[in-house]
Amino acid sequence: MSEIPDAQWRDEPTDYDQTGKLPRLRATSTQSPTLGSLNITAAATDPELLDLPWDVALEFWPASALAALPRGISRHVVRFAHLGGSVIAVKETSEHVARHEYHMLRKLRRLDVPCVEPVAVISGRSSPEGEELDPVLVTRHLKFSLPYRALFSQTLRRDTLTRLIDAQALLLVRLHLIGFYWGDVSLSNTLFRRDAGAFAAYLVDAETGELYPELSVGQREYDLEIARVNIAGELMDLAEGGLIEEKVDPLATSELIMDSYRRLWSELTEKESFELGERWRVGARIRRLNDLGFDVEEYAIRAASDGTQIQLQPKVVDAGHHSRRLLRLTGLDAQQNQARRLLNDMDAYRVDNNPQLDEEFSAHLWVNEVFEPIVRAVPRDLSGKLEPAEVVHEVLEHRWYMSEREDRNVPMAEAVQSYIDDELRHRRDEAEIMLTADARTIGIDADSDYEST
């Protein structure tokens, strides 16, 4: 792209109701037909964005422009395309929905909520014949993330499903804690990343969402009800398509999110009363919250009027306890459960090797002697299979089972080699799950895709 005649890069702090008031360029005869009135709102300039065929309706984009990823259930036309080294999702929608979602995703990311990264809103599109085309929202595809349909269709075990729903419940709790009402909670609107045998959920669709200073009980309950109905619908659909085991009951499974959410919500927010002499319960509550992956940044302790009882209520809780500790000690960025797993190993390593050593220093040694050798041992052609932190987690698991089976302490190097040969080599690539050939085998090829408008 040597010339960018009239496209504008801008970041307008627009909000939901301000549509129609946005400055728009008018096409004149001197402008190129493609970029005539293209209006691009983006946080950072990705010049390659302009190479995509914006003058063609998404539905008709040539295969050469597309990345062959599975398209989920969406009411919009959605396509994946390559942009530089990454993959982007492009969704056609109305201008105010696109702008609303773009700014909402930016706000959520600033609030540290796991969600996809908004790249741009592109409006003012028209075909070479002058036909007006719908504006699009562009988001970056989350590397190593999996749509639920890919997970279910692969080897669906009932406990996979439970973990998935737990991850969804945790995401919903985190969103509700910061005052985000989702309005369309569903597995389709979520992406999952592996997290040491469990899953971490990411919000993908913020179209119906709004941020409030605080959510009412009604809003939280309604979000939960939407989640239950949508999850049941999604599972019924998979059952109809023969994509999950028959023993999975969609209705009973969808109920799980209610329990999982409520348990978590009350642990995080509920007031607890106890006798003055039981002060240890303050520490116990905080430890329980830490185990769930939350830090307590502020809590309120009040003595009841007669002075014999104490009331404790966590006020500000912040997810990411284990991830933050791992990051602080090692600089490694990992999901919550991965971090917990790695921290456990790191702690064990310290006890075994140098219990007298300072925690930070021991962590540094662990990275050099345990983490990095494992990651380095993975041949380059297998590096797209799983995220490094997930590989290390799996190697540690593998070594433990191997040692138990063989009744000896299997050396790390041997465990790593065995893992690579027996496990990793046989996995599919999940960096950008999943290319067409792979998709077809699990029944989400282009033919069974579905979009409404």
């Binding site: 009411r75 369309d184 009412s216 309604y222 109905v229 049941a232 409404s452």
Partner: protein, 362 residues
């Protein structure tokens, strides 16, 4: 089916200076289609969410039929939020896509089938019930989504800007469908939009809100013909009503070079030496004799039979934008100066001090 009542319903957000919705009083009749409209931040969506149970009501009550639902959880209110989610499931038939929520609610197979058939008949989807959604057109898919809400037989439909994510063509088509369908079903419907054209074309009655306060609730015709205050006068109608602050004379209002006759009793009710005169673009006529208010033409928009003049005028040192509808065959040119006068009996007068309508008989 039921009536809906907002009884002094108030919502105050923590830390906010003024209520988001302030003592809202609305009685919606059984089967009525009511539209809540207003600019951003007027409280229309908050009012709808209060009815849905998504917002706490700080004071006042909300009733559905005779039942006070102020503290009832959303799912127990017997309402249906339309278009919250209308992604369709690819492996399920159209019928199952419409009826799956009933299955979750434990409705028997026979009753499900009956309700789905009935909804499909209304939506003209009977022939597609056993097909997969892939076989449907965009408009038909939209109707399946409506079917999901219909099969639940709710007492009230709630719709919050349901057309905002549709393209222009589908928007107009769906607008008509929603309006006719809800009337055929006879289900009470509360519909929120920021678009006054949508409000005027769809509502049996329209409630105009601003800053959390109800400005007027009336039929579209009355809102247009008898706006209760300057805000409603300026908000309803496209292009908007011309509003000018004019000096009062003994026997009328000074409109440029002429005096528009107004009865003395009406003028004496006004609080100051000026009144605000409102006149719609179609009620201004170009005078052939050069009498009236001088308007400088900035833009002429020709629509065929009619044309709109977008211009400006200066009164007492103050600039006013003016819009005048003229005969499309002989429009003035850009840059012209024309004189306009209101048609007798088609003027709205408001008290400049408080913005309220002065009288209906001018």
């Amino acid at each position: 089916m039921a009536t809906v009542t907002f009884d002094q319903a108030t919502r105050v957000y923590p830390g906010a200076e003024r209520p988001a919705v302030n003592k809202l009083d609305i009685e919606i009749a059984d089967g009525e289609f009511l539209v809540l409209v207003g600019p951003s931040g007027c409280g229309k969506s908050t009012s709808l969410r209060m009815l849905a149970g998504l917002e706490d009501v700080n004071s006042g009550r909300i009733l559905i039929g005779d039942r006070d639902v102020t503290d009832v959880p959303p799912k127990d209110r017997d309402i249906a939020m339309v278009f919250q989610n209308y992604a369709l499931y690819p492996h399920m038939t159209v019928g199952d896509n419409m009826g799956f929520a009933l299955k979750i609610a434990g409705v028997s197979k026979e009753e499900r089938a009956e309700r789905v058939r009935e909804a499909a008949r209304l939506l003209d989807l009977e022939d597609f019930l056993d097909r997969k959604p892939k076989a449907l057109s965009g408009g038909q898919r939209q109707r399946v989504a409506m079917g999901r809400a219909i099969v639940r037989n709710p007492q009230v439909f709630l719709m919050d800007e349901p057309l905002s994510n549709l393209d222009a063509k589908l928007r107009v088509q769906t607008r008509t469908q929603i309006a006719s369908l809800t009337r055929r079903l006879g289900v009470t419907t509360v519909y929120v939009t920021h678009d006054q054209v949508e409000a005027m074309t769809m509502g049996d009655r329209v409630a105009v809100l601003k800053d959390g306060l109800l400005q007027q609730i009336d039929s579209p015709r009355n809102l247009y013909d008898r706006p209760r205050n300057v805000f409603v006068a300026g908000f309803i109608g496209s292009p908007a009503m011309n509003l000018l602050e004019l000096p009062v004379a003994d026997d009328g209002v000074v409109f440029g070079g002429i005096t528009y006759p107004v009865h003395r009793d009406i003028l004496s009710a006004a609080g100051g030496s000026t009144v605000t005169l409102g006149v719609r673009p179609e009620d201004l006529k170009i005078s052939d004799d050069g009498q009236g208010l001088q308007v400088h033409v900035d833009v002429v928009e020709e629509l065929g039979a009619d044309a709109y003049i977008y211009g400006h005028t200066t009164l007492d040192g103050k600039d006013y934008d003016m819009v005048v509808r003229v005969d499309g065959r002989r429009p003035p040119m850009k840059g012209d100066d024309v004189h306009v006068r209101p048609e007798q009996g088609h003027v709205h007068l408001f008290d400049t001090t408080n913005g309220l309508r002065l009288a209906d008989t001018v």
